[in-house]
Assembly symmetry: C2
Homo-oligomer: 161 residues x 2
Amino acid sequence: MTALPETPAPANPDETLRLDRFLPYRLAVLANTVSKGIARLYADRFGITIPEWRILAILGAFGAATASEIQGRSAMDKVQVSRAIARLTEAGMIQRTVDAADRRRQTIAMTAEGDQVYREIVPLARAREAALLEGFTQEEREMLDRLLDRLQARAAAGETP
Amino acid sequence: MTALPETPAPANPDETLRLDRFLPYRLAVLANTVSKGIARLYADRFGITIPEWRILAILGAFGAATASEIQGRSAMDKVQVSRAIARLTEAGMIQRTVDAADRRRQTIAMTAEGDQVYREIVPLARAREAALLEGFTQEEREMLDRLLDRLQARAAAGETP
DNA sequence: ATGAATCTGTTACAAATGAAACTAACACGA
DNA sequence: TCGTGTTAGTTTCATTTGTAACAGATTCAT
């Protein structure tokens, strides 16, 4: 470790910013770490991606839905949803039925195979979540819950203008 | 709103999972919301991306550094760093100097122009962070800090194996 | 020395993503 | 019943990203 040619070396904490303490950065790194782990798990065991999992999760919780309902509940845009639906259909995990009343719409429902996969994933997903929260007291979990909701609300509010 | 042809309708909360309460999902959505807003801000005003901003942030806080040091401090992989460095060099915000002692290495330092941009961005970044945390008490901020650190540690631990 | 192993950083190629254009279906007022 | 406007979902195309291969430089044990 040789001494570097001295650079401006800005030591004034008001003009500087510690990236590793910067909230947006920390959120990005955390979410990325978590997502990568989950993505690998799902890919390895079920051959699905996170957008595909999200669709199964929506269908599993709410039953059949249209693409736009899925979009609304999953924070994905319609292109992502469309592509994920295409892949899941290809994989035989969901089925599309054109809505008779409005033929632009199609109702998406899980097939028996999709339901099977869903039932296998849910416990794994829960286990992941539990592993993340291991060592957190009930109070801490509730606090985290509220803080995240508030952050989300403020982040979303900052975007609307 | 017509009644849908009834689907399995899994009401058993043990077998089901509310995606919108699922921690990994919430973290992903939150980080994404925050990052998008910031990315737009930086792109509009400075024409830089988030990876580029991260490099400026590292250089601003620590002075000159090699690519691998930046990589270590920024949670980016070496390809991301290499590309961001290339763009910043192109834009005249940083300068590379091949290390005389080890000619594989190059020391990266901000130019006056890069420093200028950095000084303009920092207050905006701080303001963003402040906006996110608006309405949070000091105790809540500290709690959030600790909870995020612990989550990050647990998420990272879950990946090493 | 010398050659295998390792390290730094870049490049090449394929896959994922995002924005905008597009198709088809519906709604609704003139 | 036409025509304009809107909506659902898909496709296209350009860009971004990730993985792996790569080139050059260094190290270090023989």
